[in-house]
Symmetry: C2
Subunit: 636 residues, 2 copies
């Protein structure tokens, strides 16, 4: 088989510049790819490669490199329409094959409508399961290439950099200054046998010898309360180590508003908050690297998901406009040239940082990451995504449309403004189960109960509602009525001061010394859950559908993971559905961060979400207050 | 006049993607533009705008913004061939006009052969004279735009950055992190009336109010000996201040080889050399800003020209491979993402730095800058460019072809290895003029002569040759012969030790105490000038032409500026030509640095030089030694 020369192809017009093929003008701005033998149609923006178009739609094309143009396995045949011949095609196919339409799918840009014949798989694509059961084909931005270069001579005085770039000329790379500093020494100390470290289109390093087996990334979920870092082996998709710790910004306040206020009161607070966030990240990075025995310099890329305030603070951006109406971000998407060092991370000095974009001041990068991890943009089911917290983010999608909003739920779910409220720490009641004559409790840390955390609060209220001890308006029944309804529990109906309470755990003879739920606590929870329910009610109205149409509810965030689905339904926090449809999604923000490290396609997906999701602002809706009042009651 | 809508144009196919027009396939890869009414043909790479193609070839098209797409004055009409309609065209022309071929020249990419009708000028383009009489049309990378933005509301929650970018949507900008940090505060402290600072495609800052009048750049000539910084007002092209000082690396050695050796002997020397170079630049930056009363934060871009070693050292790159055969650079071109801070310059924190690319280890960025400043790539005359120094760079061009080489001249021209040699400082003899019975001297600083600098050395030798007191082989005549040839000068022929000398300036009764030229000094100069002459002889041979064909010799660098053309001819340092053809070009490296700050086109020209110039390595030429020996003699 002889390869086609470029001049041959030129004569035949096969190398005509892109843009010539027929572009579909149906107004959608998309082109149609018809995949054979599956007979599947997909539509993508012009210029997307056939490989990407297939991957995004779950159509498997052979590949071991994941679309980097190196394995040359993704051979497909264009049976109608035309696709320009790429630089690599000329090396892989004969002129006859090119005329027959053979192309490498990863280099084949679909500029017009085409039909694509996909040969059966001979290799299984490397994939990893991440997020909410998402199967991600590994195509990390981090790549390594081992090359053995010719040593310079008077006949070959090519600069060191050219020597490296010429050896990996299927990639168009920009060198980091760091590489140029190391290059002369590394090449000569390793007899010109080196490994090029590439992240996306940046040459971040050149290492002596063959280090292709070692390529790590760091995924960070920068929460207001808790920060989680996962060290990922991007060659396998598996976590090498995970660590979490409290955000060191805690002393400035528990929630984003108190931290924003701190910067408004004291001009030096912004620098201190940035430093504290960066110290948190740095400690976690050091810890996960130590756990996995990975040199921090082997961590070549970082992905960070955080809410808009946390993201602004860690980058040193004034968060004030996020905290006051009309709630404006400095930017929705972060520049591609951010580095891990901008986040204070002591990893590879040239490692780029991917920071999740945000939809709005209160639907931040953590939620975009969560949407990605839970496939809100692809799943065809009608799904509701709820991240419960002081600020609650709500997303509704059906695979075609996505709408999102934020609801200010207040601190109740985190134990704030609740008489016996506390964080989900040792001693917190996290599960409450009432029986005729007893209160079953699950306490964190297997110690005596000292307070009530969010999930316990929801359970307590839900259980009282279930027994009729709390009416639908949210009023605790009187001790007299309690005696009739549930005599075994009646002695727990007391007063603390002038307020009616229900004692959950006795810590003495006095109710005041015990862990109890007060009438005002119930009101706090009613306000919180009404805000959330108003949010999803309005989103459902945007779609013109009823709560019962929802096929799945995803409860996200650390609080969502501990919430009892049954209780969430009972208090009306989520639509009234079978509990099987209500799923705890876990730390989806962190999962989203992992996904963008493992797949350039998922990264593109995160950026696409910004365009696809419509943000619905609740605070200026004229019907908000009416809906809110409707939602205060507990469902019958 | 109604504007054309995009959908109208779509239907008519006027918005078809680029690539459709006929591309010329004559193998040159260039397209032809025929300018009317001038009837001038020019050929440029496909994709170059009509505006650029015209500017590069001295064809004036109306413009006040210099091709940034803001003044909308560069209206031209395509009379044959086709050019896609740009986003701005739709705003500027009616559908009829577009059909007639009207376009904005600065947005009109020539993808195929076209004819262009250029209306007469109604405004004079802003230009400045820089370099060797080069007229540069001002089109700096630094731009400022004053914008008054809508304040955010609940109906308009666009992020701060979007607000700015939407207001200047004719540019596609990448924001620097620095901007994002300042943006929220600056917008709100200035009632959303701000000036966007753009450098090329980077949004480097947003400043309160209207600061469009203030935009400065810093051009640096980083010499091994002397460093010169020019603060440029890029809106007028005029220097606001100039300062120079000795490179603080001096204690590590006078020339590049001793500095490279220092890094090889001591691993910590690289860091110290980098620090010293950066301190030199920093002091100069502070000084020029103070002189001109410019805030360093108003300096938004920096251009640096230096030889390959100086450039490597200031960036902290190991220079060792530059100093040992086969003389290899780390890179020829520097990444576009370098910042002034990488050079240690205390100017605007996000200011980018343009570092001149190099042709080879010994034909560095200073020479590329010099070629640009002297128009080596455009002037149609056959010209020889010689930068005289320890290492001497030689370039030969005729507007079509350019070849370059480096010749190791040794330290003689800088006063090194010369008995009474010294730098061109106070007390140095810089001009020597013999008469029958006297020696006329010009001494730097109007003080008594204490030594001999390079230009004085060349003069002294040339004058002695002129009088026949030095024969063509380089031998000083005996005192006896001197008495016959020039009795009035004969007493100056003495001996110091066993060596014959010619006393230039008596500083006592003994020749040894005086300033003299020794026989060995003459030999040193012979070796130096022979190296240079061998260089240009071989370059002339590459072109197949004779020395007499050369139309102009440019003597560059600070040494070249002081050299007497007549003496240079007499000793054979340059071809035997009329002295009118031998021109001192001055500090062309610094001029080149200024040019790239003033014009994006010149910047592209500097990059193009790298592709156009062929580097000729002398050290492996088999005919080098023979030629060198031939060149030792002084011409008859």
């Amino acid at each position: 088989m002889t390869r086609a020369s470029r001049s041959d192809l030129h004569r035949e017009g096969l190398l005509d510049p892109p843009g010539t093929p027929e572009v579909s003008h149906d107004g959608s701005g998309r082109v149609r790819l018809h995949f054979l033998p599956l007979e599947r149609d997909v539509r993508v923006p012009p210029g997307v490669t056939v490989f990407d178009a297939a991957s995004w739609n779950g159509i498997a094309i052979d590949s071991t490199c994941g679309g980097h143009g190196t394995c040359k396995k993704c051979r497909i045949r264009i049976t109608s329409g035309s696709v320009p011949v790429s630089r690599l095609d000329v090396r892989c196919f004969t002129a006859d094959e090119l005329r027959d339409g053979w192309r490498l799918a990863c280099m084949a840009a679909a500029l017009g409508d085409v039909s694509v014949d996909v040969p059966p798989l001979s290799t299984r694509p490397k994939a990893a399961t991440v997020g909410v059961g998402r199967q991600v084909i590994l195509r990390p931005a981090i790549q390594k290439r081992y090359v053995e270069l010719a040593e310079p001579s008077l006949q070959d005085q090519r600069p060191d950099l050219d020597r490296v770039l010429d050896a990996i000329d299927d990639l168009e790379l920009r060198p980091d200054l760091h590489v140029l500093r190391r290059l002369p020494g590394v090449l000569r100390s390793s007899s010109f046998a080196v490994t090029a470290v590439v992240v996306d289109d940046v040459l971040v390093d050149v290492e002596p010898g063959d280090t292709t087996g070692r390529r790590f990334g760091l995924a960070v979920d920068l929460g207001t309360t808790t920060v989680v870092a996962t060290l990922l082996d991007t060659s396998t998709g598996t976590p090498a180590a995970v660590a979490s710790m409290l955000n060191k910004q805690q002393p400035f306040g528990a929630d984003v508003i108190t931290r924003i206020s701190a910067t408004m009161l004291d001009p030096s607070a912004l620098v201190r908050l940035r430093t504290l966030a960066q110290e948190t990240l740095a400690e976690l990075a050091v810890e996960v690297c130590a756990q996995a025995e990975v040199d921090p310099a082997e961590v070549y890329e970082v992905a960070l998901a955080g809410n808009a305030t946390m993201t602004a603070l860690v980058l040193g951006i004034d968060p004030e406009p996020l905290g006051v109406a009309p709630f404006v971000m400095s930017t929705a998407s972060w520049p591609a040239l951010l580095k891990a060092s901008d986040l204070g991370l002591p990893v590879h000095p040239a490692a780029p940082a991917v920071v999740f974009p945000a939809l709005g001041a209160y639907v931040g990068g953590d939620i975009v990451a969560g949407m990605l991890a839970s496939g809100m943009d692809r799943d065809k089911r009608l799904r509701l995504f709820i991240d419960v917290g002081t600020n609650c983010e709500i997303v509704l999608g059906d695979g075609e449309r996505i709408v999102a909003t934020a609801a200010p739920a207040g601190p109740a779910f985190e134990g704030g403004a609740i008489r016996c409220g506390m964080r989900a720490a040792d001693g917190a009641i996290e599960v409450v189960k009432l029986s005729e004559d007893d209160v079953g409790l699950q306490v964190i840390g297997d110690v005596d109960a000292v307070g009530l955390c969010g999930s316990g609060l929801v359970d307590a209220v839900a259980e009282l509602v279930r027994f009729g001890l709390l009416d639908s308006t949210g009023r605790l029944v009187s001790p007299e009525d309690a005696k009739e309804i549930a005599p075994g529990l009646a002695d727990r109906f007391c007063s603390v001061g002038a307020e009616r309470v229900f004692v959950l755990a006795w810590r003495g003879v006095e109710a005041a010394e015990s862990v109890y739920l007060s009438q005002r606590d119930v009101r706090e929870l009613q306000f919180a859950k009404a805000a959330i329910a108003t949010g999803w009610t309005l989103l459902l109205a945007e779609f013109g559908i009823e709560p019962g149409d929802v096929q799945q509810v995803l409860l996200a965030g650390s609080f969502g993971s501990y919430l009892s689905p049954a209780s969430a339904v009972r208090i009306g926090l989520v639509p009234k559905l079978s509990v099987l449809r209500i799923v705890s999604a876990g730390n989806v923000a962190g999962e989203g961060a992992k996904m963008v490290l493992l797949s350039m396609q998922e990264r593109a997906g995160a950026a696409a979400l910004l365009r696809e999701v419509r943000y619905v602002e609740l605070s200026d809706r004229p019907d908000f207050n009416d809906r809110f009042v409707d939602m205060l009651a507990f469902p019958g």
